[in-house]
């Protein structure tokens, strides 16, 4: 029996059937007094197939590039919506529109891979993942303009699903009216799974793609055109997405919005994670199971928030169940996911040079003065919102600790802020506890929550943890920051989380004072993070991130180091949430949108995820984008934050910190030259740059491989999948 369960051929189908039976029985027992009908299950399965399409695309891209493609849904949405618009506006026959949509998806997939993904070939996987966030927003903006470009406006987006040839086949199953379009989705789902299986099993390109996914450099050395294979994979992913969108339009209707949304992406991501980012059949099965779960839980609770909240325990369980099942290749993929460029401190040879010391002092003074006097250059609304941006900055610092140094990807950091805000709301509005006490208690609550979320990270990390933190952020918004579930904690509409007079003397009531208070806490967060980085714990964190086994070999407790990172990171994020509650003088769920977590992650990556000054630069960028000149222009913001992020990362893979540290190092070189000081680390840079230029210019496989070998000598971050070399 055990052999059947674990055998490569029989295992997955047996496990899938078992899981389906267990799910069915569990739902049956749970809802024994209020049984969903077959129609609920069937519609859930149908929605699940659509999740499965996105999940398959996510897996494909993950296998090729070891990233989460946040643009997976949007890549197809542009093509799918175009096809639907052709039908609606120009009465193009359904099959023709279908072909056009698929053709456009092919072009989008290819363009995205060649123009964007390929340029990030050697970048850390986190950077490329964030670049896809930008892509998603940019493609969302295109989708927004699409109706106009095709010859109409938004009024053409009729919410009624259009009728197709398949509508004529109608039947009722358990009270639910199905038609041919529903059947097409099921058939397409099954066909796609089989086709993908066959593609990767029996075609040269498929086998090459698998080889590339396992170890890109080894595949390249064996003569596989890795980049071309990657293009094919992205095309297939885009086609899958377009297929999913196009098929859903006659059933669910045209997506009316400019972006599919993070919460909607959570389900396909969960399906992909359950499939260990590996098995197409399991991903489709998991997608279907999630769809069924979503529909039945809604049926049971009649609250769309409940299925979201349930995702967190499911993902935590899935994660804990999977350690030990990952292949070595996957494991290495996870470890390289977080590799990001490290920026050196000032070389010791120059640290004590008077000019350098003065420059540091003056630069620090200038930054401090700029930060302090900034409100005087702002209008009132900007002053008020500047505090929010500073609080995002504190959460950014917490992300540098957790993601930049500890290598634990968090897509839900704003969720910890939500925990802090709820605790503060309860203590301040209901119990009138001292301001500083509320901050400390909120911070501790955030630290505890982070440790609980981080515990599974001791067993598994990277992408899996990232998805779990995303689910955590969703849960916090819909469940924790919700007066329905925590009425004694949440302040009501008449209650203020009143800003106190500090020590009975210092008013923090006006926007400027509060901004300065937030700035003070940001400074404390930065100081604490810097102290952590310079401590043994900080070094252990970085060592564990870079080489877990090596660190363990030196007696470092990786578990303790990681949990410490989670605790400290959670503390500061929750403290930012507490200050946010005082800033808003209330706590409301709408302020804790999980999308903000992604925004903050993007901000930190844009700045430079391993660097505190980088995170601060990212904070400034975010403030400029959100409440700067583009405020009030949603499409402008979408374009700027979308393609803007992608272009910025293309130009500066190390983020804004790359410019900052590049400029600093040039100045240091000048100082070293003038003073005749030999600084090996600064000289080494020029050699590294030459190699990078050579590597970028060469497309030849062998040259690339050779460059890769050379780079390993100069401690340039390794490309994806090379850690097992």
């Amino acid at each position: 029996m055990r052999r059947v369960w674990t055998a490569p051929r029989t295992g997955p189908p047996v496990q899938a059937v078992t899981a389906a039976v267990v799910l069915y029985v569990a739902l049956h027992v749970l809802m024994r007094h209020h049984q969903p009908t077959g129609g609920v299950y069937a519609f859930g399965a149908l929605v699940g197939v659509l999740y499965g399409f996105v999940a398959l695309g996510l897996i494909l891209v993950y296998r090729a590039n070891r990233i989460i493609n946040f643009a997976q849904a949007e890549m197809g949405a542009v093509a799918g919506v175009l096809g639907a618009l052709l039908i609606k506006l120009h009465h193009v026959p359904y099959p023709v529109a279908f072909v056009v949509a698929i053709a456009v998806a092919v072009v989008i997939g290819a363009v995205v891979e060649v123009v964007v993904v390929r340029r990030f070939y050697r970048a850390p996987r986190l950077i490329l993942s964030v670049a896809t966030i930008g892509l998603a927003l940019g493609l969302g903006a295109i989708q927004f303009y699409l109706p106009k470009w095709v010859g109409g406006d938004y009024s053409v987006i009729d919410p009624t699903p259009p009728r197709t040839w398949f509508n004529r086949f109608e039947f009722v199953f358990s009270g639910f009216h199905f038609n041919g379009n529903h059947i097409v989705i099921v058939v397409a789902g099954a066909f796609v799974v089989v086709a993908l299986f066959a593609f990767f099993r029996y075609t040269d390109v498929g086998i090459a793609a698998r080889a590339s996914a396992e170890n890109a450099d080894r595949a390249a050395l064996l003569g596989i055109p890795v980049k071309r294979v990657s293009t094919v994979v992205w095309i297939v992913a885009a086609v899958l997405s377009a297929l999913g969108i196009f098929l859903r339009i006659p059933v669910i209707g045209l997506p009316a919005g400019a972006d599919i949304g993070l919460t909607v992406l959570l389900y396909p991501l969960a399906a992909a994670v359950i499939a260990r980012m590996e098995s197409f059949a399991v991903a489709m099965g998991a997608g279907i199971a999630i769809g069924v779960l979503e529909q039945t839980l809604y049926f049971f609770s009649r609250d769309p928030l409940v299925p979201f909240a349930v995702m967190l325990p499911i993902l935590l369980g899935a994660m804990l169940a999977q350690r030990g099942k990952l292949s070595r290749g996957q494991d290495s993929g996870l470890s390289t996911w977080s590799l990001a460029r490290e920026f050196r401190p000032i070389p010791p040879e120059l640290r004590d040079v008077d000019v350098v010391q003065w420059a540091r002092f003056l630069a620090g003074l200038a930054v401090l003065a700029a930060a302090i006097f900034l409100p005087f250059a702002m209008d009132l609304k900007q002053q008020i919102l500047a505090s929010v941006i500073v609080l995002y900055g504190i959460v950014g610092v917490s992300l540098v600790i957790l993601t930049g140094w500890a290598g634990q990807i968090s897509l839900g950091q704003w969720g910890f802020a939500g925990v802090g805000a709820v605790v503060t709301g309860g203590l301040a509005a209901h119990l009138h506890v001292d301001f500083f006490v509320t901050l400390v208690v909120a911070g501790v609550a955030g630290a505890l929550a982070a440790v609980v979320i981080g515990l599974p990270a001791l067993r598994i990390q990277g992408l899996y943890l990232a998805v779990t933190t995303l689910a955590f952020a969703v849960t916090v918004q819909v469940y924790v920051v919700n007066a329905r579930y925590f009425p004694s904690l949440m302040p009501n509409s008449a209650q203020n989380v009143v800003r106190p007079t500090l020590y009975g003397r210092i008013s923090i009531d006006d926007p400027r004072s509060y901004y300065w208070l937030c700035l003070l806490f940001l400074a404390l967060a930065l100081a604490s993070a810097r102290a952590l980085r310079n401590s043994r714990t900080g070094r252990a964190l970085v060592a564990s991130r870079d080489n877990e086994r090596g660190a363990q070999g030196y007696g470092v407790s990786v578990s303790r180091a990681r949990l410490t990172a989670f605790a400290i990171s959670g503390f500061w994020a929750a403290l930012a949430g507490a200050l946010f509650a005082y800033h808003q003088q209330t706590v409301e769920s709408l302020s804790f949108d999980p999308q903000i977590s992604l925004l903050i992650l993007t901000m930190v990556v844009i700045g430079g995820v391993t660097s505190l000054p980088g995170a601060m630069l990212g904070t400034v960028w975010l403030g400029f984008l959100k409440y700067g000149p583009l405020e009030g222009s949603p499409t402008g913001q979408l374009l700027a934050s979308g393609f803007g992020v992608t272009i910025l990362l293309l130009a500066l893979p190390g983020g804004l910190a790359q410019v900052f540290y590049g400029a600093r190092d040039s100045l240091l070189r000048t100082v070293a030259d003038r003073r005749g000081i030999h600084v090996p680390s600064l000289v080494a840079d020029s050699r590294e740059e030459r190699i990078e230029v050579a590597a970028a210019a060469d497309t030849d496989v062998l040259t690339t491989a050779a460059a890769s070998v050379e780079e390993s000598d100069t401690l340039v971050p390794a490309p994806a999948g090379t850690a097992t070399r």
Binding site: P255, G261, V264, Q295, L305, H583
Partner: protein, 606 residues
């Protein structure tokens, strides 16, 4: 590698000292905010200092009111003085004083030779709307109290019209029924309404002055080429409503409260955060549409609305249901629903938005459920289930399918959609696709009972819509308040079709000013409105009345209606309108008569 206790002590000593000092400070001089609880707002209203003790900006108002009111009359002087003391208790005294002084004080200066040329025979002020308040003699000059509250001086009453940022997708859906105004149309309309109220209402020597927003909120210029000819000042909101951005809304509210310092804010459409922030900061704000009564009461006397509050909407609906529908078999649904299940009785499903758990609508829905599951319906209670959805245009269609599936499976026979007006577009189309045609019991909320909006809903489903409606039998648009105010301001033609909403807010603000008397402040506004007689209760004019202690919303009564897809609308003559029972007779709470609904007579329209 081990660290000795001594080394640890040396390393962390500064931190420990700092922590100890902080603990000491917390113990000796705690940093606590002033308690602000429900009721504090109302209690401190006259002087406002009770309200703003935590926020500060209008603390000076207390003194201003106290001084000027003292000049106007003894009782009000007491009020001002009490308000000036700043405490909640003092505010209580203020309320009593303000009652005596409000309107009488206004009449005093002109007692000798009253100019009543603007008074109609029925005692109302002459003006372009049916809802003109009780007539006041023309102000003959004299001391009007000067700066009686924030945003008021001897010659002006400053107000802000907050125009929320639009959403392209939502506007596109509304545009199908010509319900999306351009920036230019909007600007021209509010300019006309501003002119009209200044011309027709008694403002006691003052003039209502609209304020421009600062910077990117500067309505007169910010819309650029979309608004080339109109430079009327208003506040153009920059915050996203879909999805909502509460920090941004609260920031804009703070800008309005602390920078512009108006007496009134008119905000027909905005996120609850805006009203909450303005109310907490002691600014009189009007808007929201069907928000819970509790929201208004919590912020009394600052938060008002033209439309019925959510609790009253649901009270009407519950009474209607309990007197006419409970315990009876389903009558007005499609055959597919009438045939569902074995139980002959109705089973109600209430749909409401609860974006990210926002409790705004749930409060009213819970009240309704309590009423028809025992409260008002007593032992005859029918089954009822509630269904929440996320108000998100991007996921609306899929949510609609999920919801409809649940409704079908729960064998819901009668659907109450306490929804935003766009949600039924998705819901009804899905219902039709799923061959599900339940009774659509209307609550008269969120303008879903407006003919032109209802035409957006699937006719095969909406033909089963009936129930209470807060709106009146519509007049042709060229006879509506918006058109009359437009012409009254000297314009020709007609404003855009959405402006009846905006003009209602202008008229309410103007009535508040007139009813309050010359000593304009939140308390006199409250007293003036509570003392004013209700107006309306006619088929074309709903009754609008505000009552102590907690009725801060306008429309009181309902009419009984049903949807008729073939009936021409009074608004534009096009097919598709709500038909009235009893010629549109208005019914107040407690007056619904028992018996079957008198909708769809002889099967017409169904």
């Amino acid at each position: 590698m081990a660290t000795t206790p001594g080394a640890l002590g040396r390393r962390y000593a500064p931190f420990l000292v700092l922590a100890a000092v902080q603990v000491l400070l917390v113990a000796i001089v705690p940093s606590k905010g002033t308690r602000v609880q429900t009721g504090d707002y109302a209690a401190g209203a006259s002087g406002q200092s009770g309200v703003v003790s935590g926020n500060g900006p209008t603390s000076s108002d207390a003194g201003v009111v106290g001084t000027t009111d003292a000049g106007a009359g003894g009782p009000v002087g007491t009020a001002g003085g009490a308000g000036g003391s700043g405490g909640a208790g003092g505010g209580g005294t203020a309320a009593a004083g303000a009652t005596a002084g409000t309107v009488d004080g206004g009449a005093a200066p002109s007692a000798g030779a009253e100019d009543r040329s603007r008074c109609a025979k029925n005692g109302q002020q002459i003006g372009p709307t049916y809802y003109m308040p009780a007539c006041r003699p023309r102000w003959a000059g004299g001391d009007n109290g000067g700066s009686t509250m924030t945003g008021v001086d001897a010659t002006s009453i400053k107000y802000v019209f907050y125009r929320a940022q639009g959403n392209a997708q939502v506007n596109a859906i509304l545009a199908r029924q010509d319900l999306a105004a351009s920036a230019e149309q909007f600007c021209e309309a509010v300019r006309a309404f501003d002119k009209s109220i200044n011309k027709n209402y008694e403002m006691y020597g003052r003039k209502a002055v609209s304020l421009d927003g600062p910077g990117k909120n500067k309505g007169s210029t910010v819309n650029g080429s979309d608004q080339p000819n109109c430079k009327f000042p208003y506040f153009q909101g920059q915050c996203s409503l879909t999805p909502p951005d509460p920090p941004c809304e609260r920031a804009e509210a703070q800008v309005i409260a602390t920078q512009l310092k108006p007496a009134f804010v008119l905000a027909p459409v905005a996120d609850p955060a805006l009203y909450n922030e303005l109310g907490k900061r002691g600014i009189v704000v009007i808007g929201g549409q069907n928000f819970p009564e509790q929201y208004h009461a919590d912020l009394a006397p600052y938060y008002w609305d033209v439309f019925m509050d959510g609790k009253r909407v649901m009270s009407h609906l519950a009474e209607y249901y309990c007197k006419k529908l409970v315990g009876k078999p389903v009558t007005y649904a499609g055959a597919d629903v009438r045939g569902i299940g074995t139980a002959p009785k109705r089973k109600v499903g209430v749909i409401y938005p609860s974006t990210a758990g926002d409790p705004t609508y749930k409060l009213s829905v819970d009240f309704f459920v309590a009423q028809i599951t025992g409260g008002m319906c007593g032992s005859k209670a029918d089954g009822v289930k509630t269904y929440s959805y996320e108000s998100n245009i991007n996921t609306a269609q899929q949510q609609a399918t999920t919801t409809v599936l649940a409704l079908k499976n729960d064998k819901i026979t009668t659907v109450v959609c306490f929804c935003d007006p766009i949600a039924p577009v998705f819901l009804t189309n899905t219902m039709d696709a799923q061959a599900y045609h339940p009774e659509e019991l209307t609550a008269g909320s969120f303008l879903m009972d407006y003919d032109k909006l209802a035409r957006l809903y699937n006719p095969n489903v909406w033909k089963y819509a009936f129930g209470p409606s807060t709106l009146q039998i519509q007049l042709p648009f060229d006879q509506s308040d918006a058109a009359r105010a437009w012409r009254d301001a000297g314009n020709t033609g007609l404003p855009d079709k959405t402006e009846n909403l905006n003009v209602a807010y202008y008229n309410l603000m103007a009535s508040m000013i007139q009813n309050a008397g010359p000593t304009l402040n939140p308390r006199t506004i409250q007293q003036g409105m509570f003392n004013a007689q209700g107006i309306g209760g006619q088929p074309n004019y709903p009754k609008i009345q505000f009552r102590a202690p907690s009725d801060y919303t306008g429309i009181d009564d309902d009419r009984e209606t049903y949807w008729c897809a073939t009936r021409p609308s009074e608004i534009d003559g096009q097919a598709g309108s709500y038909a009235s029972v009893d010629n549109g007779k208005r019914t107040d709470l407690g007056q619904w008569t028992p018996g079957d609904p008198r909708v769809f007579p002889n099967g017409t329209c169904i």
